[in-house]
């Protein structure tokens, strides 16, 4: 089937979508957007997190057909051209990335957290990132990155 949706602000017409396929598959394999990662396909790891109509969801658990006419923002849509979003910059600076599989999902979840809560406490960060697993870094550097991003963003908008 054909689906039409908006991804990172641009309209996409996608053909030959299998009715049972996930939005994650369609993004990666049909729209050339491999930022969202496929690490479990069962909602456990959060590597595939994208915004769907403004809400962070596991794109592996959304049927591509359910995204017909909807707005999706992936990790690729957060940067401003070559200029990284402060959340992305903070992950780089804090060394919160090793293999990088979990990173796109963590960045989308962190982006959403900081949109709603500019100065989250550590328990709030842990709660917000409870659906994102990292198997390499250990979470200390990830927490550092979230705190750093929170500081940068609040400094930008006092």
């Amino acid at each position: 089937m054909r689906i039409t949706l908006t991804v990172n602000g641009a309209r996409h017409d996608v053909d030959d979508v299998w009715e049972g396929e996930s939005l994650l598959y369609a993004l990666r394999e049909r729209m050339g957007l491999p930022g969202s990662k496929n690490a479990c396909e069962q909602g456990e790891c959060g590597s595939c997190t994208v915004y769907l109509d403004g809400l962070p969801v596991c794109s592996c658990l959304v049927a591509a057909g359910q995204a017909q006419g909807r707005e999706v923002t992936t990790v690729e849509g957060l940067a401003d051209g070559e200029r990284l979003h402060p959340v992305q910059q903070a992950f780089v600076e804090c060394g919160a990335v090793q293999c990088g599989f979990c990173t796109p999902g963590l960045i989308v979840s962190t982006h959403d957290l900081l949109e709603h809560n500019a100065r989250p406490s550590d328990p709030e960060i842990r709660e917000a990132l409870a659906g994102n697993l990292c198997r390499c870094t250990g979470y200390e550097k990830i927490l550092d990155a979230v705190r750093t991003a929170a500081r940068t963003l609040s400094a930008e908008q006092p």
Binding site: W18, G43, V57, V62
Partner: protein, 303 residues
């Protein structure tokens, strides 16, 4: 595979009647796992996310009519104070991403013995509204679950809503898991005090082939509170009463050993959760006499 995406409730019911094999998909948090892992290959998917009516909740007489497509995140945000037991259960589901998609109707559709909404809905005496082109049926929630992952839903029916009376007293939800997030319950317990009718509601999760109530325990506790005049006096619970209630809840369960835990652990934990839930709820009921509080009750996770 076909992909059916009705935009009106009448079209959805017609589609289900015409394609009884079509698998409804709401949040997809159960369905898509099955499809991704090749465990399900339905001839068609019936997308329910284009039906605004399923995403609504409203007051309906004295009750809340909660559309089957309302997500856990919205139950927490919009109904935390109105349906505290269900909101507490919702906070324990999966992760933020899962709560943004997963729905109460999908939880019922899967009818897992471990579904977190079920003990809360059982304790609150919920009615499930199911519909087909043949008409609407109102099922007491206790009759909805018929076996492991089986429900009373007919092949041509969809779940429209659940009808819940906002509580006249405190509610509690307790869940045992290995982590504070992303866990299927090892065992779970929902509790409601109904001071208006001097009753008690219970719901047991993950400790029987279906979610179920503990009717003998409910009658016991309500009767003891009556006999001691406590419904009127709001006095302290007599020594041992909550413990005995916990034992009776435990006796209503029939768990199995599985990868998440042993039957013996499930029984022991149920008895502890039921004792604590009853104690916390009764204490809240006693302090509520000093004036209403519109704060959300805290979620308690164990251990």
């Amino acid at each position: 595979m076909d992909f059916l995406a009705p935009t009106t409730w009448a079209d959805a019911l017609a589609a289900k009647a015409e394609h009884p094999d079509a698998l409804p998909v709401a949040g997809g948090t159960d369905v898509m796992v099955e499809i991704n892992f090749d465990h399900a290959r339905p001839p068609a998917l019936l997308d329910l996310t284009r039906l605004p009516v399923l995403r609504e909740w409203a007051r309906d007489g004295g009750r809340i009519r909660l559309g089957a497509g309302v997500t856990y995140a919205r139950v927490i945000d919009e109904l935390g104070a109105t349906l505290p037991g269900l909101a507490m259960a919702s906070r324990t589901v999966g992760s933020p991403q899962i709560r943004n998609r997963g729905t109460v109707g999908g939880n019922l559709g899967s009818a897992s013995p471990a579904g977190d909404s079920h003990p809360a809905l059982l304790a609150a005496d919920t009615t499930v509204e199911v519909a087909s082109v043949r008409g609407v049926r109102l099922l007491p929630i206790g009759e909805f679950f018929t076996g492991v992952k089986r429900s009373a839903l007919a092949p041509d029916e969809l779940i429209a809503a659940v009808l819940i009376t906002p509580p006249s007293g405190p509610q509690q939800y307790c869940k045992i898991g290995t982590r504070n997030a992303m866990v299927i319950a090892v065992s779970a317990f929902g509790f409601a005090l109904h001071p208006d009718r001097r009753g008690v509601g219970t719901g047991i999760g993950s400790a029987a082939p279906t979610p179920r109530r503990a009717p003998a325990a409910e009658e016991f506790l309500a009767g003891e509170l009556e006999a001691a005049g406590l419904w009127d006096s709001r006095g302290a619970l007599p020594d041992g009463l909550a413990r005995e209630f916990g034992h009776r809840v435990r006796d209503a369960a029939s768990p199995i050993d599985d990868v998440r835990g042993t039957a013996a652990y499930r029984l022991a934990s149920l008895s502890v959760m039921a004792r604590r839930a009853a104690t916390w709820a009764w204490d809240a009921h006693r302090s509520a006499a000093c004036g209403p509080s519109d704060e959300d009750p805290p979620v308690r996770m164990h251990p």
